[in-house]
Symmetry: C2
Subunit: 564 residues, 2 copies
């Protein structure tokens, strides 16, 4: 090269700076420029809810290196030799001249920045419903540093008493927690029948039961309009006519890729509205790469394109694009299995791979099971995990997993993410060798126990029924015999109260006469987590009962009302 390579990056949040830094490490003499519309750079945007929620008080912690240096223009220039233009909007990409036209939003000064390789990291824009009153004071999103500053001020001012969070997805739930920690009464409003749509209905309802202990939750209901007085929000009116008084509303109904610049530059946009890229993160214009929330990428389980606006993927994509922009296409980013997690108070919710619902929609036949059990022994104060595992019904390949509860969900989801990425089958998991000691795990880790249940189901030894299907049978008035196999003391504390018969497992062999005479009658066995329920089912089958099912996950996975 005679001239130094000129690499321009549009977008300074996550993927952009990562691409810039990687490019720098591979070419000390390239001219690298970041064009950033906001005043801040390298914002840890996934951390906004925790700043709002008071987990920490110094805003700069969202913008700092691990040693506490703020990643501002000076930092990028000195530590990395990267020119970061903040408060600067990219107006147009002139692809034939290979120039980005910009304007400084403070001074109004326009400029043309030439590039050899351009990396688009333009992110995503929050969806805002076009409703009456949406411009009232007191309505915001939590998508920018400005939003975070606004909501943190709400916390610090301690004036607002009631807030509505519109949308029960990841950001909605995290925002609800943050504002609840500011002592604000929260109502989450979700248009769909469930929160957290990356979970299947049964898992989402279990999580919702927990969320309801902290906030109000309204599902199957959207916002019809925002109600204002003197320009300020005083409530929201729902589609069913209900009015919910509130002084604050946070809109969290998802984001859409910001592809304006790309589209205007003739770059190909994909079917989901994200910039189309190949596995080198290269767009339809070979000089232009795109990374982060503005692109659509491949779901590695289905092979289909998806939008996956996650901070971790943005960083990985940035690293790949940064290298390819400097060295030519040499490294690849194959895609995502759509792994996600969120914390809501003392409860963790995670998923990876396909949900049963998505599999059904795609016509993939799957087997599923639910496993409820603690993450550690009782003597180490183990906490409950409820997992759902989804495998291909033909091949037994692991396709998806969901895990919720106060226990160590992150480890479980990490394990299943590895299993999915490695295209493992259940047989590969039943004798897995994980780190075991009582402070960390049960002797048979929850993930392995989950695989065991699936293996038992596949061998026809475990015939399960989900809470949802059992509820349907009850509602339909089906003639079923419910057998609770727990102890009397447990029954006093918690029970379905649906006409069940209580026979503790330890008495079952001697009390068979209390079971239905008709051995073909449908019997549903269960206990707290359905381990004893399973042993009871095996026992009944050995004694000739032909239609015995185990309530999957036991009472812990029953997401409907109980008597106690």
């Amino acid at each position: 090269m005679n001239e130094p390579t000129r690499i321009v990056i549009i977008g300074g949040s996550a993927a952009g700076p990562k691409a810039a830094s990687k490019a720098r490490r591979l070419n000390e003499f390239a001219e690298i420029t970041i064009i950033q519309k906001d005043a801040d750079l390298s914002m840890a945007s996934c951390g906004y809810p925790y700043y709002v929620g008071g987990f920490f008080d110094n805003r700069n912690q969202l913008l700092s290196t691990p040693t506490g240096v703020v990643r501002d223009q000076k930092f990028y220039l000195n530590a990395k030799g990267i020119k970061a233009l903040v408060n600067t909007e990219a107006l147009k990409i002139n692809t034939s001249a290979r120039v980005v036209e910009t304007v400084n939003l403070i001074t109004g000064e326009k400029a043309k920045i030439p590039y050899d390789k351009l990396i688009l990291a333009t992110g995503a824009t929050p969806n805002i419903p076009p409703l009456e009153g949406v411009d009232l004071e007191g309505i915001t999103t939590l998508q920018s540093m400005k939003d975070a500053d606004y909501l943190r001020k709400v916390r610090d001012d301690k004036k607002i008493k009631k807030a509505v969070v519109i949308g029960g997805g990841l950001i909605g739930i995290e925002t609800a927690e943050a504002l609840r920690l500011a002592d604000i009464e929260i109502t989450i409003v979700e248009l769909l029948p469930q929160l957290l749509t990356f979970l299947d209905f049964n898992m989402a309802k279990l999580a919702e039961n927990y969320v309801k202990s902290k906030t109000n939750v309204i599902t199957k209901n959207g916002v019809a309009k925002f109600i204002g007085e003197n320009g300020k929000l005083v409530g929201v009116k729902l589609q069913n006519g209900t009015e919910v008084p509130c002084e604050l509303a946070v809109i969290a109904i998802g984001v859409r890729p910001d592809v304006k610049l790309a589209k205007a530059a003739g770059i190909k946009i994909g079917e989901h509205g994200g910039i189309e890229i190949n596995e080198f993160m290269q767009t339809s214009n070979p000089d232009i790469y795109a990374v982060g929330d503005c692109v659509e990428i491949t779901n590695l389980v289905t092979g289909r394109k998806v939008l996956a606006p996650y901070g971790d993927l943005a960083n990985l994509e940035g690293r790949v694009a940064g290298e390819n922009a400097v060295l030519g296409n040499s490294v690849t980013f194959k895609g995502t299995i759509q792994t996600g997690i969120c914390k809501v108070f003392d409860y963790n919710v995670g998923a990876t791979g396909l949900s049963e619902d998505t599999a059904n929609k795609l016509g993939i036949k799957v087997d599923t099971i639910i496993n409820a059990s603690p993450d550690k022994p009782g003597f180490m104060i183990g906490k409950l995990l409820i997992s759902k595992l989804i495998v291909n019904a033909e091949t037994c390949q692991i396709l998806g997993a969901q895990c919720i509860g106060p226990g160590d969900v992150c480890k479980q989801i990490s394990i299943w993410a590895m299993a999915i990425m490695a295209k493992m089958c259940i047989e590969d998991m039943v004798n897995a060798d994980f780190p075991y000691a009582p402070p960390f795990s049960l002797a048979i880790d929850h993930s392995i126990a989950t695989a065991h249940i699936m293996q038992n189901k596949r061998k026809g030894r475990f015939v399960g029924i989900t809470a949802q299907n059992l509820k349907k049978k009850m509602d339909d008035g089906d003639d079923i015999f419910l057998l609770d196999t727990r102890g009397y003391d447990e029954f006093e504390v918690m029970r379905l109260g649906k006409g069940e018969t209580l026979i503790p497992l330890g008495q079952l062999r001697t009390r068979m006469n209390e079971l239905p005479e008709d051995k073909s009658k449908e019997i549903i066995t269960y206990c707290k987590i359905s381990l004893r329920g399973y042993e009871a089912a095996v026992l009944l089958k050995a004694h000739g009962y032909t239609n015995v099912k185990v309530l999957e996950g036991g009472l812990m996975a029953w997401h409907y009302k109980r008597e106690k």
Copy 2:
């Protein structure tokens, strides 16, 4: 079958009861008998240190189901239809008559118990050094419920002030913590140059530095004799002549398989002294299976047989043997990758797969790197993890990983265990899709960052030097230029003090003139964790320096003394 199958299991701790329970679920009408020498059944033996350490106070918690039912003879009979003979020793296996000869240790009554299939779960016996004074009062192991009861009494009595733990392996370290929590001054004595020999030397020394903040540690020194007064222990004399006063000594120098019965029955014993089994957990006698600490199993990375006396494997093996004993050989247990973990106060130590040391001994050429970084963002109070990754130098297949620190070691080791079991290479890990949210992980998870460093090393971009090799160069008086790239404030708080030059990374481009004129001079760059150190090295190489190395893991992985 005309007669019910008779299945006899010798051993009632972990693997035995698991095999019995599995057998029962597969055949309700089999006669299943457990022969157990101890009074207790199904002891959670890995939990002993936590009972001794006061994590919980009810001894029965070690013997109970998750709902608090003690797994005693009555429980096994009623809940599982299994006859458990406690206080009963198996004296002899008559393989031609297919009978086990037993004696009741309380009544002296002898019996002959016929079997169709026999499962040996005879466990392991602690190694006791044949030293003078080894029978003194105050010397114990922590391998049985009786030992746990004894040491718990030591805690409760509050009389003993000083104890020596002999052996710095997993059990030794856990015991040291337990007794330290009883306010006893502890000295760990280890014959080898390091604690925790499943770790490589450099990782073990980092862990040892932490352990030393809680207990005394003496390495490269064994016990020569126990010193007594009036039959009671008053101290140990070490091989170098030092005397360590103590009223209690716990011997934790490993266990050996208990194969007496098997050997006498003509069953084949393997090269490491464990019962030889095939992948069905079947011994050389087709009617006899063996499981748990008494067997040797295949290391799946090396293909060699190993002793792996871990509670998690015992349970998995028991499940396999239980099924095969009932159904004929149908399921397999392929082996172990020797995954382990232990907690010592607020520090976690884990490993999986091959260590560098073991690889070297086996002649497998490996590449290794060290990564030190937090498990979570600073604003979520991330805790440090130090990982060592070991890959095959030719194929880049992941062979082993070690991780230590106050952070979430268990997740890291679980991820690497999956990678090893799935025979993944580094390229399969660099864009892994794990659950990310700030309460759980960095945007680029520590495991992925570890893979990135290895990838950079493999591509020749990262040239590392371990603390151990740097120390050797220093000791040899090599002419090296040490470049600390941190800030002045950081340098004031902590530094090597070995003649290093401090140039913060942000000033390096403008202060090149302070570097050696000779561009071939060996330069070692570092910072706290060697991220800035790496960027500095890249920068120097771009400016013509030809012999630049990065101190792997930075100051966090420097296990020798620092000036500050």
